[in-house]
Amino acid sequence: MSAGERALSDAAEAAAVDARLVSLGRVRGMGVFLVLLGVVTLMAFALGVTGGARATFLLSTPPSIDLSPLVMSVRPVAIACALVCGGLGIVLLVRLRTQGSYLIFSAGFCAFLWAFLAWAARGNTLNFVQMLAETMVAATPLVYGSLSGILCERSGVVNIAIEGQFLAGAFLGAMIGSATGNLWLGVVSGAVAGALFGALLAFLALRYGADQIIVGVVIVAFCTGLTNFLTAQVLTPDQTTLNSPSTFSPFAVPLLDKIPIAGPVLFDQNVFFYGAFALLVLVHVTLFHTRWGLRVRAVGEHPRAAQSVGIHVLSVRYRNVILGGVVAGIGGASFTIGSIGEFSAQMTAGLGYVALAAMIFGRWRPFGALGAALLFGFAVSLQSFLAVLSVGIPSPFLSMAPYVITIAVVSGLVGRVRPPAADGVPYSLE
């Protein structure tokens, strides 16, 4: 190869950019933050308690095999955590490399959390396992929502309508599940409801080139109004037959449910939970390892390129947007027949938007979104435990915790995201 070629390869090295790497500034920020957290831990949780204060963490609930509860003396634990947290912060600052910085940061943050929980549960008992279990439950609808978002946006269609599809799925799921007394029919009809609005989005955005965000926003408004209206007009007059379905009850996976901690947390949930994780793996694998996925991503990144190799951009998008609707619809059904039973107006409480946040936060990757969902779920579970442990924080502040944490993480750790290049861009042949 000519010298020129060599120069090119060097040039290539020089020009190489890894979009996934975080900037050094951010690493520095994380380091400083951890150090501060360490100090806080020391001040508040270590010195802020009476010497003898003990905290008890329950590590096992039925059905898992019995573990003796973990009894900790708060102060030493807090001091240890403070050291770990601050130490890792310093590590970040001195090595100042981007690789693995997230890992180190998460470790440090967990140390802080542990100290915080110990402090919160001082002189008291914290059911740690159940705390994790509730994290999972709270995360489940978010997983469905963000997967729906990923399916759509990876193919280049922004789906802001998730909240609406949630509502539709929740409504129809409850109504059919209740009317027929068959929960599986409820799931199916939830999926259908979601698919319908997915189809509407696809139809208006793809066939008529309507702005995807506008259509999305309006679908939410439409679903909100429609479900409110039908609840008042149809469900309420006939509550017992139309709006009191039973719910999927959790079933324990034999043997696995015996595993301490993991058992009750992961293997004693209801079908929507297992479904979410199955779907998660499925979407990940198909998206990144199959022909279908390759083509979907190509369409989402560079539709003209996809089209120039004979891929039918619009049909790929139609398929994905409707699939996304199905997923969101099922997620919606989980609000009613997977949890509460009856449908009540606006019961999804904006979680569709939170799911959207989880998707962006997770950088349009299934497992990234899972991480975001779990974080949010943990915050939800945490705040309810703190409330019951009555740590003296005014309850409105407890309930804003999940949202504050999300903002902190998104601005502190995630930063600028890179959506699929053609996301939201209408596509036409000529």
Partner: protein, 358 residues
């Protein structure tokens, strides 16, 4: 809390068998303006609406309708819309609407109003304020819960940290503590720790407790309840309207040995699918008092003023045990009746701080 000067239970007096009085019979329109909770909140909006229905059954020719409020800004226009509709009486629901109701009542002295969960001082001629001393029956509920608890822990949580809610929780906690005192037991009430001294204006919290800060998000109710159960409670008392359904779902999921007390209405009537979980319900006679007010208005016997629902006048009560009729020990039942009498007679305190917390 809310111990307003209890005027004679005037309204209750009219709850005799409803004989259709001719001159009232031709046409009478009763109207309700809901607060933002909506007509289907399984709480005071729904109860008030039930009141209208009851009145309609009692009085031929009485028709009723409601207007939904979606935000604070809707109250005034909703009320004036109904005034325009020539409603015989307008029921407004919730303290949120106190101001709107008051100004509307001042502007239209001949328009009859009744407002749920609020009482005016000084009382107004054309407005009947309906308030309920739910800490009285909640006290009984607390005692019952403590008596029925196997784990020695019971839990409560509220929809929001506001008196109509926390007054329930005060009574509940008081009942539990009273149980401990008289039975030398150590049942703990999770979810609400009333402050020694109540002083709202200063901004100090009226206690420290668990709230969903939301009367509609049932999922949150479920999470909260699961948390209470996880922390050992086996009997839950949600004071959060429809959010209570989330609690019921959680209790059901927690399986045998976990029960709850419903709130506001008799749970076995308003949420029958969960009747098997309800030891009893701590009710608040909104429906009864509203229908009484409407009927009074229809019959032309309406007087403004304030109505205080108490155990004595049946304005608040502990609902039947239904499926627990023979699970609740006779001893406990007897005790509850005794307590009821003593509370009516004002013989025992229902202030949680008059008993030690265990």
């Amino acid at each position: 809390a809310g111990a307003g000067a209890s005027t004679a239970p005037r309204v209750a007096a009219h709850r005799a068998p409803a004989v259709a009085v001719p001159h009232a019979a031709k046409h009478f329109l009763a109207c309700e303006v809901t607060d933002t909770g909506g007509i289907n909140d399984r709480s005071f909006n729904a109860s008030a609406y039930l009141g209208l229905k009851i009145a309609a059954k009692a009085i031929p020719g009485l028709s009723y309708k409601y207007l939904q409020s979606n935000s604070t800004s809707d109250y005034a226009p909703n009320i004036s819309t109904f005034i325009g509709e020539k409603c015989g009486i307008i029921i407004t629901v919730g303290f949120d609407m106190a101001q709107a109701t008051q100004s509307a009542a001042k502007k239209n002295p001949n328009q009859k109003f009744a407002i749920v969960d609020f009482s005016y001082t000084p009382a107004m001629k054309n407005v009947l304020g309906l308030v309920y001393h739910t800490n009285q029956d909640a006290f009984l509920g607390g005692y019952l819960a403590a008596a029925m608890s196997k784990t020695g822990k019971v839990g409560t949580f509220g929809g929001q940290d506001i008196p109509p809610v926390t007054i329930y929780m005060d009574g509940f906690v008081a009942g539990v503590r009273y149980y401990d005192k008289v039975n030398h037991a150590h049942v703990v009430a999770l979810g609400w720790t009333p402050a020694k001294k109540r002083n709202f204006a200063s901004g100090a919290f009226a206690g420290n407790g668990t709230f969903t800060n939301d009367f509609t998000n049932q999922a949150l109710g479920k999470t909260t309840t699961q948390t209470l159960i996880a922390q050992g409670a086996d009997i839950i008392f949600p004071v959060a309207g429809a959010v209570g359904l989330g609690a019921a779902a959680a209790v059901k999921q927690a399986g045998p040995g976990h029960y709850m007390l419903w709130v506001d209405t008799d749970g076995c009537v308003s949420a029958p699918q969960y009747c098997s979980l309800f030891i009893s319900s701590v009710t608040k006679g909104i429906a009864a008092s509203v229908s009484a007010a409407v009927e009074a208005a229809a019959r032309g016997t309406f007087h403004g003023g304030n109505y205080n629902g108490t155990l004595a006048n049946g304005g608040v009560a502990l609902a039947p045990f239904h499926q627990f009729a023979n699970k609740v020990p006779a001893k406990v039942k007897a005790m509850l009746n005794k307590l009821k009498a003593e509370i009516e007679a004002g013989k025992i305190s229902i202030d949680p701080n008059s008993y030690p917390a265990s």
